[in-house]
């Protein structure tokens, strides 16, 4: 599934010191293209924030800069849904999912990379194939199972079915394959067993890629929607993405609060991105993560 030429580790980005490829014209075209693309990428997000700051009777205004900024919509969101609680739930869920998916992936990738064993290729294939099983297929049976365990409306219901991530397994498997064998040999000579080798040699050396993988898993967990929507009933136990749906109401779409809620839901991850932007991009560049 993964092109073996891209390696997670070691990072071998080379910065070219050759002059610009297509000459000055190419460079200008490149800048223009990238600026256009950046605007395209950013404008909707900007518009979300601007709309969220408009008061109700000015909501349909199309001025690019809000003339009268108000926090009214945020107050509405704050008072109608338990947004702080929801953000906390989302955070807890994301942390739990990230940790569990990292842990299971480390163990799994290690086994696949370290040993040849009966049905190893088949089992690896099973992981890859999970990508092709659409959520719509597993939705109802899993809901029924969760419900019969009495887990509805709990964090367990959200986390357990996604305890392992095929994506994380495949990705770590790629980087483990490229792990320098000398380090393992050295450890073995020192008398370390398989378990210790994993935790004392491999994991510390893979810190960078584990960190970037963790960031990715965290983001994707944060953005989870359909499954949490299905298994939570009480807003106190819901994640923040579900709060959005509350403002697409029978009695009309409340665009102002909706945009404020959307901003609430995206802000933490955007802030995280602003802070860790360099690392996230770098890890992507290094890994060729899909």
């Amino acid at each position: 599934m993964f092109p073996s030429s891209t390696k997670l580790e070691p990072a071998n980005i080379k910065t070219s010191d050759t002059p610009s490829g297509f000459g000055g014209v190419g460079n200008i075209a490149g800048h223009v293209l990238l600026i256009a693309l950046s605007v395209l990428a950013l404008f909707p997000v900007y518009w979300m924030i601007v709309t969220s700051l408009r008061p109700a009777n000015d909501i349909f205004s199309s001025s690019l800069i809000p003339t009268s900024a108000s926090l009214e919509n945020y107050r509405t969101v704050w008072s109608t849904i338990p947004i702080a609680r929801m953000l906390l739930n989302t955070f807890t869920m994301s942390v739990l999912l990230t940790l569990s998916q990292l842990l299971t992936a480390i163990l799994c990738a290690y086994a696949f990379a370290r040993w040849t064993f009966f049905a190893d290729k088949f089992l690896l294939g099973l992981f890859a194939l999970t990508w092709l099983v659409p959520f719509q297929v597993t939705m109802i049976p899993n809901y029924v199972l969760i419900s019969s365990f009495g887990w509805l409306d709990t964090m367990t219901a959200i986390v357990v079915p996604q305890f392992a991530s095929a994506f994380a397994v495949m990705l770590l498997f790629q980087s483990l394959k490229a792990f320098p064998p000398e380090l393992i040999d050295a450890a073995r000579i020192d008398g370390a067993n398989d378990w210790l080798i994993l935790w004392r040699v491999i994991v510390p050396n893979l810190r960078a890629s584990l960190a970037s993988l963790a960031i990715l898993l965290f983001i994707s967990a944060w953005n989870e929607y359909f499954w949490p929507l299905l298994v939570t009933r009480n807003l106190e136990n819901a994640v923040v993405q579900i709060g959005l749906q509350m403002f697409l109401t029978q009695e009309g779409d409340l665009w102002g609060p909706l945009m404020a809620a959307a901003t609430f839901a995206s802000l933490p991850i955007l802030l995280l991105y602003v802070v860790l932007q360099k690392q996230i991009i770098e890890s992507f560049m290094k890994s060729g993560i899909r």
Partner: protein, 433 residues
């Protein structure tokens, strides 16, 4: 011989036991028994007045019935049936559910909704029914049995923007009465006020307003014996052609229902035929911007208008007698005078107990301050029930029908051909007679 006698006596006793078990209604809840029930509700699934009002209803009920605790389970209206089914499959039978009228026949046949007559004594039922509008009571009645009580529902109302009327040189005190007038007004609004004319919000997953439109032209979606789809019969087709004409004449914009709603809220639409439940939303949006008014649903010439309700009833799904009883108590409260006072004033649906509008202890103060409720109340007397499509495939049938309607009104192609083709396809999904 003795044994045989004993056997016969035992048998007789057993028969008596069975018969009397059938006849025995739910006893009142024993004192000191705590019961907790679930209440699946779609108003809870959206922020705002719907959820607030529902929470208030539940809170007041629990206060009055300290031994019953109610867990509200939110689910969007178009998904509530899926949620109910999934929970029945998972063995967690819901106790009380708000079910959209389009879905309730399916719920009766598949989710084990029992007629109230089997659970509650005639006397208790009749006591509760006093004051309930008979037209409302008929909404959840199928094959002579009452399966639930109407809960939150509304009728089609023609909202209009009085300022747009004035700008177009129209008299806001004389809203259009017939569809011909609607067209004339809409074109005038478009020409003189440069706003969109009229939007008829009958598109989407539910067919209640479509049913209302057909009835008002002497047509039906489903034949009276509930065996045949009749939405491609002549009167029905005529009604759809009228809508198509509105669109092609430029009197009716071709936009999605949700966008029409925003347009009305933003003051860019002259007239808007929509559920009265939208009243509060539109009132809030119009504040300080324009004057919102409402009128009755327009008629086809001089024909009688038959408003059909939207909305939902409450139905008992519980199996356990204690929970059934608790669910019934909640049901009674929701449809009580106090219940309907909250439902109407807080959420904006029609009060099924019209008397409370004149009762100062209940809705009178509010009704005096909110004259927009009037057309809604007047329409109650001619209310026709939203008829559910029968069979397991009712959702697909409805979808085929509504898609064809959408195509006929907004798309190209011949209206009659489109509707007839849809009728043939949909009929093949009807249950065998």
């Amino acid at each position: 011989m003795k044994k045989l006698w004993l056997f016969v006596i035992a048998l007789g006793l057993a028969v008596v036991a069975v018969v009397s078990a059938q006849k025995s209604f739910l006893p009142p809840l024993p004192k000191n028994t705590k019961v907790s029930i679930t209440f699946y509700n779609y108003n809870l699934a959206s922020a705002g007045i719907g959820a607030e009002g529902t929470k208030q209803l539940i809170a007041e009920f629990q206060e009055a019935n300290p031994n019953i605790s109610v867990e509200g389970v939110p689910a969007p209206s178009n998904e509530i049936l899926g949620r109910l089914q999934a929970d029945v499959v998972a063995g967690r039978t819901p106790d009380l559910a708000q079910i959209v009228f389009a879905d309730y026949e399916f719920a009766i046949n598949n989710l084990g909704v029992k007629p109230l007559e089997d659970l509650i004594s005639e006397r208790e039922l009749q006591t509760h029914y006093v004051g309930l509008h008979p037209r409302g009571l008929a909404l959840a009645r199928l094959n002579g049995k009452t399966y639930g009580l109407p809960y939150v529902f509304s009728t089609p109302v023609l909202f209009y923007n009085a300022d747009v009327f004035k700008a177009a040189g129209l008299d806001p005190n004389r809203p259009p009465r017939s569809w011909a007038e609607v067209k004339k007004y809409a074109l005038q609004i478009k020409a003189k006020a440069n706003k969109a004319g009229v939007y008829v919000a009958l598109h989407g997953a539910f067919d209640w307003m479509y049913q209302s439109l057909l009835l008002s032209n002497g047509g039906r979606v489903l034949s009276e014996d509930r065996k045949r789809l009749s939405f491609a019969d002549a009167p029905a087709l005529e009604a759809v052609r009228m809508l198509r004409d509105l669109v092609s004449a430029g009197a009716h914009p071709n936009v999605a229902p949700s966008d029409a709603q925003s347009a009305m809220a933003a003051g860019n639409l002259g007239m808007y035929l929509q559920t009265s439940a939208l009243q509060n939303y539109l009132l809030n949006a119009s504040k300080d911007k324009f004057e919102l008014r409402s009128a009755k649903m327009p008629s086809f010439g001089t024909k009688t208008v038959y408003p059909v309700n939207s909305g939902s009833g409450v139905f008992i799904l519980a199996k356990d007698p204690l929970k059934q009883r608790a669910a019934w108590e909640l049901m009674k409260f929701l449809t009580s005078k106090r219940g309907y006072t909250i439902i109407t004033s807080k959420i904006g649906y029609v009060p099924l107990r019209p008397d409370i509008v004149k009762d100062p202890a209940y809705l009178k103060p509010w009704a005096d301050a909110n004259p927009l409720i009037k057309p809604n109340l007047e329409q109650l007397d001619r209310l026709s029930p939203w008829v559910p499509i029968p069979g397991q495939n009712y959702k697909q049938i409805t979808k085929i029908m509504m898609d064809a309607l959408d195509q006929s009104v907004f798309g190209d192609g011949d209206v009659d051909d489109t509707m007839k083709a849809a009728s043939v396809r949909a009929s093949s999904l009807m249950p065998n007679q």
